[in-house]
């Protein structure tokens, strides 16, 4: 039987693909997010809903929360951060190994949210760098998924030190 040009090329093709090391690392890292949920307030409920089976963050390879900053690469800051809590958050961030990313989950972590008073930090970006802001009070699980996909795109396309 006569082979089509495509079939012939497939038969001939060696079992490999060409890419760049940087790209493979990015591809691997974006699907193996180990998140550290720094949950302090009501947004935690929406985080749980996003993480559990109904919305299932595991579909994006982010299904394994680690409760040690040394084992995680994405810091999910979920909920109100007070001035009293701020040094703790900074220390958790400092304990994480590179490469690491930070997600500001909910209005409180972005800007203090509904609380502009003596007690609440007006946005975690005052003390640590933030990669993705997920707005909402609390953000709907679909918005969380959207944020996660945007974070994956960011991880995929950034430069990875080898």
């Amino acid at each position: 039987m006569e082979l089509s040009p495509v079939q012939r090329s497939l038969e001939l093709a060696e079992p490999f693909v060409t890419t760049k090391l940087d790209k493979v690392l990015g591809w691997g890292r974006k699907y193996s997010i180990f998140n550290y949920p720094f949950v302090t307030a009501c947004c935690g409920m929406e985080y749980m809903s996003a993480a559990c089976s109904r919305y299932d963050m595991d579909r994006f390879g982010a299904g394994l929360p680690r409760f040690s900053p040394r084992q995680s690469d994405v810091l999910l800051v979920v909920g109100t951060i007070t001035h009293k809590m701020a040094p703790v958050l900074k220390q958790v961030y400092d304990q994480m190994c590179e490469p690491k990313w930070v997600v500001a989950f909910g209005a409180c972590t972005i800007s203090g949210g509904p609380y502009n008073n003596y007690a609440v930090l007006q946005g975690i970006d005052q003390i640590i760098p933030v990669d993705i802001y997920i707005p909402g009070c609390p953000p709907h699980a679909e918005v969380v998924m959207d944020g996660l996909i945007k974070l994956q795109a960011k991880i995929q396309h950034q430069k990875h030190e080898v």
Partner: protein, 189 residues
Amino acid sequence: MSGTRTERTFQATGSWAGPELVERICERFESAVLGQSEAFGEREVTVRREIWPTLARWLKEDEGFEYLLDLTAVDYLGLRPVRFEVVAHFYSLSGNRRLRVCVPLQEERAELPTLTGLWKAADWYEREIWDLYGIRFAGHPDLRRLLLYDEFKGHPLRKDYKMKARQPLIGPGTMGGAASQSREDEADV
């Protein structure tokens, strides 16, 4: 039908002490009772600071108010001649009765004897009041701030605490940073 149900719910959740209790308080403490009122079925007595622990002990031991429901404070700056008022809610589990007791306090003598000897629960309530209003409780075993950090200056629920005053521990505006001077000016009350 629904009307009866509402009434029953109200009775189940909110039984307040009757006027006879206030009469007994007036009889016993006489001139130390500054006033009494009743609004929405809730009974309230205002008393002088001098009888505070005695009244609380009497309510607990002789009148069956075994439960200290709540202890808090109010700052009436500019609204009343006496600036602070400490407000306590007592509850009698056996009699299903509540009573609110208010104690006005001058700013210069913002201090009351502690209730920790009568109720362990008073411990954190009193620390919270000290933390947020700066009212001291004499005889409290460990009167430290409860909610805020030790470095915090002033008492933020006092009405003269500057609304925009911020005292971050780290980050911009921190003590020692460029903004520290203005921060302290604003924060000191």
